[in-house]
Symmetry: C2
Subunit: 345 residues, 2 copies
Amino acid sequence: MKPKKTSLSDIAKQVGVSTALVSYVMSGKEKEARVGMDVAQKIRDVAHELNYQPNLLAKSLRDGRTHTIGLIIADISNPFFANIAREVEDESRKNGYTVIIGSSDENADKAWDLMNVLVNRQVDGFIIVSAEGSEKLVLHLQTLNIPFVLLDRHFPQFETDFVVTDNARASYDACRHLLENGYRRIGFVAYKSGMFHISERIRGYREAMLDRGINPEADWLKEVQFEATEIEIRTAIDALVQGELPIDAVIFSTYGLAVNGLKYINELRLRVPDDLGIVSFGQAEVFDLYYCPISFMRQPIDVLGKHAVDLLMERLQNPGGARQHITIDARLVARESSRKKQEMQ
Amino acid sequence: MKPKKTSLSDIAKQVGVSTALVSYVMSGKEKEARVGMDVAQKIRDVAHELNYQPNLLAKSLRDGRTHTIGLIIADISNPFFANIAREVEDESRKNGYTVIIGSSDENADKAWDLMNVLVNRQVDGFIIVSAEGSEKLVLHLQTLNIPFVLLDRHFPQFETDFVVTDNARASYDACRHLLENGYRRIGFVAYKSGMFHISERIRGYREAMLDRGINPEADWLKEVQFEATEIEIRTAIDALVQGELPIDAVIFSTYGLAVNGLKYINELRLRVPDDLGIVSFGQAEVFDLYYCPISFMRQPIDVLGKHAVDLLMERLQNPGGARQHITIDARLVARESSRKKQEMQ
DNA sequence: TGGCTTTGCTTAAACGATTAAGCTAATTAT
DNA sequence: ATAATTAGCTTAATCGTTTAAGCAAAGCCA
């Protein structure tokens, strides 16, 4: 039924030599291995004729490297991660590596299972956007001595390679921008999470407010559950805009929060930015096409992805080298949603 | 340096038996292989103690199945494909398969290269969103006897498994909806392509117009190059809205066209739907959050993805079975962008 | 002529798992 | 008591590749 693929020994048999010779020729080692010119040519001819394609499984098994990397992200259907995946894919292919992507849904258990599957498939290394609670995963990879690079999020308590944006600074810039444009009562919506990148974003917001001499009300910070974003975000926004001190601007610390938040803001018929100024993290076509284009902190996804792959490649070459920490600045893209406030007397 | 992973023979050595016994126990065949209860337990204990993880490479090499499928799509950073990828990933994992995703950028050569890499990695089968001109790829997989399912697009001239939406019908429905709501001069924007799914969409549009007794002007159909979408779409829209017979509605036959089109429509300060009614293919948050929510044809991505995987699984079981053609209907999600036209006297 | 190097190839082990076949000792049947 | 069965293991081939080591013949030098 299935026309067996041609292997080294098929060629060897037809040419009348050992598989060793064929292997040498096919991997361009004919010089070192002193293969006769005529035989080499014959081998190439037959290989071509039989349409030989090497079996990468066998090769990998033999030399312990699969030239495959595992990419664990939160969710491939989120544009931020999809774009990251795309960068990682392209950059990896340039380096001769294939990527296997898995979505963890921000769930540490899922991430753990994924990692195990990929480890068993013998990936050479990982690029990981950590879910909350995946310290165990990180430690496990360390004891297995499998190279990995943390992307977008990292654990300050562990000494690992990572590539992240400067979240505190990005948040600070977002907030300062709103302040400069006349907004004063600024809310901040984040996921409820113990993860470092989240708390950094909150810290940046706080500092910007304090530096401006404003004490951010505790009520202005809303933390919503990832698993129940749609519902909780409504409650959060209701509270923010209807409280004693209704906010005049809000920062969404994540793409998913912004999308859900904007939907509800539309429902409430709040006008952006007159009723509510907005700056968001993340990026996507949504922000361009909203009736009032949304200002956002642009994370240089291409740079993040490229650095992550390059760093991993370096680590694969030199597993013992010093861990590297790469921090990249996000850049504010200011648009209508945060334009200078008209003082309304 | 690297603490070698534990293999069957490590366990065998420690327990003092052959690797065969260990293999039987680890793969749950201890009954058939008549392994002694006490020895079996000992093996399990040691396996656990040494944290044994099977090497899937070796297993795959041995029995010729990798439990891996290749997914070739146009671009993972396009939400339509990202969502497909997500479905395929989840459904495959349920079946014990791992997915390797590659983006072809609608380029047949890239798709060809990708396929070759994946074939060499011995994927068991493929799910493919074909790029234009990839007939060669399809034929090649057929001669290699590697199972594959075409997704979203298919080649009517080849007898293959496929899962697609009924594009002619979707287009017909989109157009009829606009007609029913009072629009008459309806434009259609598509990619310039010889691919079947595109011409089907055009056909559906034409038929809906003709059935209504309207002869669609040739100028109302605009075909833009995939590689130069941003520029060409401006020219196309300019022509559509400024011609002798300016259109009063437009159908975007693809997500990417809609996004670029809407951007330009915004720039032109055309009001949707008063100046221009809109229905689009594709789906994404963009359509929800546009100032005037965009009507679109919802393709049931979850169903598409699930069917594609299930069909491939079936084909892997039974390579010789009759090819299956699965066609799924898109459903109109009607919103503001195509609301009933106010007759303006 | 005898020893040394070079050329051109083959042999065989290794990667880690699977599994048909075979072997031995104990048990059961006759 | 002897033959037949069964339980409980081992052996070894296999998947396709790589590569160190070895071997024979030819070439070179004195």
